[in-house]
């Protein structure tokens, strides 16, 4: 069942040469981030294991895009390729129309675990990305404090991460990504380690902050409701080797509120996606048995 295989990527656009850092892309009509026909295989003891197979997707400027798929569909590998940690077997990564395959430092990244530095206080953690960019410490700290206050972490500026709850740590980790000057944010299953209640609280918190800032976001998740609530579009990935099964546009207007969770259109989309994913899961089980 391949409704939209995303092979219809736009024809190669003129290269923007001479710009060393990705500029905010409001003026151009290029996607903020585009992944074209990525393949990746890992060598194993017995032959090769294909992890990603001809995967293409795009994030428009200011768009919130989610990737949803069964575990083991190579989603984290995709992020490592986008982040420049490993080269793709084939295909390329583009930002604002420029080929940036294999380049590091072009995305704001939020890992699955909070991965806050335990020797830094909350504010020192949040100011880290600006510090890395050479922003003066006083300026970076002032910016960090502003966001900490706005994100409901006021009073915890001087706290060390291990004294915070899981939800608080994820907030700080998200703020750290938000403070990164790069336009595109990549969130790798940001709430997967949280309990259901904290998770839904965090989704609304993220929705509020994102609708204020409108950064371009690519988020990996397992959670269908979370993807629907937050995203403008959703890519459903297949089981390994991962490729795009279907792209879904989420029609709900912004700013979104909690009551869309019970909207009939929302529920219909939710059951559509879960049936696609269930079929994929079954196909995978049949293959493996």
């Amino acid at each position: 069942m391949r409704v939209n295989n995303m092979n219809d990527t736009p024809s190669s656009s003129p290269e923007l040469s001479g710009t060393s850092t990705p500029a905010r892309s409001d003026s151009t009509d290029n996607p903020a981030l585009e992944v074209r026909h990525i393949r990746k295989a890992f060598r194993q003891r017995r032959g090769e294991m294909q992890v990603l197979d001809d995967l293409s997707l795009a994030v428009q400027p200011g768009e919130f895009v989610s990737i949803i798929g069964p575990s083991g569909s190579g989603k984290s590998t995709l992020f490592h390729i986008i982040g420049g940690l490993m080269p793709p077997g084939a295909g390329s990564v583009h930002m604002d129309g420029r080929d940036v395959t294999g380049q590091k430092g072009l995305i704001a990244y939020m890992p699955q675990q909070p991965a806050l530095f335990p020797w830094r206080t909350v504010e020192d953690n949040v100011m880290l990305p600006e510090e890395l960019r050479g922003v003066s410490k006083t300026q970076a700290r002032a910016n960090a404090r502003q966001w900490i206050e706005r994100a409901g972490l006021g009073g915890f500026e001087k706290a060390y991460p291990h004294t915070l709850s899981g939800g608080m740590q994820q907030r700080a980790s998200f703020l750290r990504a938000l403070m990164s000057p790069q336009e595109v944010m990549c969130l790798d299953e940001p709430f997967s380690a949280l309990d259901a209640l904290t998770r839904s609280e965090m989704q609304h918190w993220l929705l509020d902050i994102w609708e204020d800032t409108r950064r371009s976001v690519l988020m990996i998740t397992h959670h269908i409701e979370e993807a629907l609530l937050l995203s403008d579009s959703i890519y459903i990935l297949s089981a390994r080797p991962g490729t795009v099964l279907q792209k879904i546009e989420v029609p709900f207007p912004r700013p979104r509120r909690e009551d869309i969770l019970t909207d009939p259109a929302f529920l219909a989309l939710k059951s559509d996606i879960s049936s696609i994913m269930r079929q994929e899961q079954q196909k995978r089980q049949q293959v493996s048995t």
């Binding site: 982040g83 420049g84 940690l85 995305i107 990244y109 890992p111 530095f117 335990p118 020797w119 890395l132």
Partner: protein
């Protein structure tokens, strides 16, 4: 305050019990003082000889501190160089291990022959025993940097130097301190060995002198002072660690 007391009294009680046993045995079997002096006579000797002992102790402490600083400094510099230059690590790591198989006690006289009786050969001895635990612990700590944090730093665009100063070094600090603690006790040992071989003052020198004169009580005094010096060094390191690593979960 009560919990502190409940922590401290069992070892103190055990030591007191042991001392009473020792005193009793010496008294009961009338053991010659040149074979085994009673704890009481060791204590008395320590008090009566204190002005002389203080001079020797200070000399050893000075030597220990200088040697410790140079030795651990060397260890840290070596570990950083080997960590930042992987080629160097491959080439020199086996040599590092090998250096620890050369017995210090055999090497020390050679160092005296080469470098005379001054400060230098003694500091080399201390450096030889101190650098290794620090270098190995630091290398280990640097190599075991958290993968997620490392990936975060790389994706965010941090350079090698930024990754090193802002992630790897602070991450390795607890490991480095466990190496420093071991080096702290080794440094006292190294200083005493250095003084055995050739010195005109210091606890090691005092010990050799008294052993030659069969003043077993004074040898025991020297041992006691060496133990106290080791404890002092460990306490100094623990204090420094507490000041530098405030974020530790244990604290």
């Amino acid at each position: 305050m009560r919990s502190w007391w409940s922590l401290i009294w069992p070892p103190v009680g055990a030591v007191l019990f042991f001392l009473v046993l020792w005193q009793g045995a010496v008294w009961l079997w009338d053991i010659e003082p040149y074979i085994l002096p009673a704890p009481s006579s060791i204590g008395l000797e320590m008090v009566s000889g204190s002005p002389v002992l203080l001079n020797h102790t200070l000399a050893t402490l000075r030597l220990t501190l200088i040697g410790f600083l140079i030795g651990t400094g060397t260890g840290i510099v070596i570990s950083l160089a080997l960590h930042l230059i992987p080629m160097l690590r491959k080439a020199l790591y086996p040599l590092l291990i090998l250096s620890q198989n050369v017995p210090t006690i055999a090497l020390a006289p050679l160092l005296m022959i080469w470098f005379g009786f001054g400060m230098l050969p003694k500091i080399i001895v201390i450096t030889l025993v101190c650098f290794f635990p620090v270098a190995v612990a630091a290398l280990d700590g640097l190599a075991r940097t958290d993968r997620t944090m490392l990936n975060y730093m790389k994706m965010t665009g941090a350079g090698t130097w930024q990754i090193f100063t802002k992630l790897e070094l602070p991450h390795a600090l607890p490991s480095i301190f466990s190496g420093l603690r071991i080096a702290a006790t080794y440094s006292v040992m190294g200083a005493v060995i250095g003084e055995w071989i050739g010195a005109d003052r210091g606890i090691g020198y005092y010990m050799m002198l008294q052993r030659a004169g069969y003043r077993t009580d004074r040898v025991f005094v020297a041992i006691l002072i060496i133990v106290l010096l080791s404890l002092l060094m460990v306490a100094l390191i623990a204090l420094l660690e507490k000041r530098l690593i405030r974020w530790s979960r244990k604290a």
